[in-house]
Symmetry: C2
Subunit: 338 residues, 2 copies
């Protein structure tokens, strides 16, 4: 059995998460039982939701247990199988966690999914054609429900979710506006991702200034907003929302470290008759096939060219993850293991 390098959650953050919250260990992969499959991970997915699970607080997901392998999405290859459903060499995605190998019960529905890498690179199944892509799809299609010609906005615009959001919004005839940090990301959003405009929030000290900048690039107001960050950005968007606008609340990364993050003017939800709806994409598995089909086609036809930030080697995962939380990544953050 191969030696398996793993990263565990060793302690919970007090405030900001740090490298010492994680611990690397190694163990031998256990011998397979009937129905089990051994997967060698090629890529780990790093996602903002993982920060929420590091806290021991009531949330939508159970907290990540201490002393166990960090949970997370993985893409890899079957290297040994005692299940008729999988053969060595199959490319698969699953929730293998922060480790080099995982042993998966192939009978468990949804535990492992075979993917076709002919037209879509394996890593994209963790991003544009995976959970982040479906997240963008659900928020846009099921909550924002945009009509052609409407203006939709997304924060963290060059991330995995934001990139997919742009392609999906343009496919529906919308004006797509991004919010991102720094001139390089904003240029990329417009030139590569197809956003009609992108606002650099780092140029703005407060919500009023950011809100004013949004007014300039959204002359007809905002009909739909996909929220990945919260805090000042949400305060800036809210006054720009048109009557009957929809806000899909997907992430509030700005508040993960526990700092207070109030919404300054909630009365705008009433005066503009907005709908604000939180969601977790894993609770809507019924939309995944339809969403993945559209996303796969967008990638295969080059209408969605997702960018990736790739860290090398399992030992790089904690630093890469902490960088993601600070917006240091550019596109989908992955860890490449082989």
């Amino acid at each position: 059995m191969p030696l398996n390098q793993q990263i565990l959650l060793d302690s919970r953050p007090t405030g900001e998460a740090v490298v010492s919250n994680f611990k690397q260990v190694s163990s031998e992969t256990p011998a397979l039982q009937d129905g089990q499959v051994l997967v060698r991970h090629h890529f780990l997915s790093l996602d903002p939701y993982m920060r929420g699970r590091m806290n021991d607080a009531k949330s939508y997901a159970a907290p990540q247990p201490l002393g166990q392998v960090m949970l997370g999405g993985t893409a890899g290859e079957v290297v040994e199988s005692r299940s008729p459903k999988f053969q060595p060499g199959d490319k698969v995605v699953g929730m293998g966690g922060w480790q080099q190998y995982s042993v998966v019960d192939a009978e468990q529905p949804g535990a492992l999914r075979k993917v076709d890498t002919t037209h879509v690179p394996l890593s994209h199944y963790l991003g544009a054609v995976g959970m982040p892509g479906v997240t963008a799809w659900y928020g846009l299609v099921k909550i924002i429900e945009p009509k052609a010609g409407q203006t939709v906005v997304v924060s963290a615009a060059t991330g995995a979710v934001g990139s997919a959001f742009a392609a999906l919004a343009k496919a529906r005839g919308c004006r797509a506006v991004g919010i991102a940090g720094g001139p390089e990301k904003c240029r990329y959003a417009v030139e590569e991702l197809g956003f009609d405009a992108c606002i650099d929030y780092k140029l703005h000290q407060d919500a009023a200034s950011l809100s004013n900048a949004l007014k300039g690039v959204c002359p007809d107001g905002i009909d739909g907003y996909f929220e990945n960050v919260g805090g000042m950005v949400l305060d800036a968007v809210l006054p720009r929302m048109n009557a009957f606008g929809r806000i899909a609340l997907c992430g509030m990364i700005a508040g993960y470290d526990g700092q207070p993050m109030p919404l300054t003017h909630p009365a705008l939800i009433l005066t503009n008759r907005l709908k604000v709806q939180g969601f977790i994409v894993s609770e809507h598995m019924e939309v995944w096939p339809e969403a993945l089909k559209e996303l796969g086609t967008l990638v295969a036809t080059d209408k969605l060219r997702p960018r990736e930030s790739v860290a090398q080697g399992i030992e790089a995962a904690p630093e890469a993850f902490l960088g993601l939380l600070k917006g240091k990544n550019f596109g989908k953050q992955l860890v490449k293991l082989i």
Copy 2:
């Protein structure tokens, strides 16, 4: 032509609204043109939304113009008609404003509605079987969409909206919990309006304390919340919401005077996958017939016994309105003119 006492908006409030913002004048009612009707008002409706219109700020409704009669719902009797649609003696409801008489263009759709006072007293068409009742209906039926056995909560529980909400919720097999100010209102909510429990918010200094009290009377959490007040009460309810809960945002009376009223923990909307939706009942005229039918039946069959606070005479309107904003009313606030 009879002399018509009117109350105008004379100045806009700076902070709290005061009596001197209003001014009483009198004028002769003009002679009727073809198609017009002269209505003598028996009751004026006083409603919290009027406070919002006193400000000169962007809101869902245009600001009340200075120097003009305060807009508002009225119930009365046709005393003269040059329209084939109405006869003297007809009981009617409309938007006659804060005055004793109004001249109405009977051809304008929805301007004047004939009502049957056989089983429902005229004044109730301004409350339980009028705009406030339909407001409760829309928020409960169209936004909260409760299932039998679920727990629904309403603030300002003994007001016109809250009273109707209780009857509508009980008719749907829900547990109905109210929030009101003072022991007398809370007792009335349970004994007369059918609430299963009512929390006196005046007993609580902060949101945490009020939230804890809510936990006691909502042991299975809260599935739907109808918000009439905002501020501390909304902060207290939010942590008690069950996953996939719905919040109908109808009023934020706590913020009408311009004081800041942030929402402390908006991330709960995400973590509990809530839907928060603002609405204005006048934008959903399509539901009025269905809603009024149910509300009329509830009143006629004594399942909804709305209480009224009745001020006497047009000159009492400003004081009564300011009292309403402070919760001094008990049930629907009216002004009786004859």
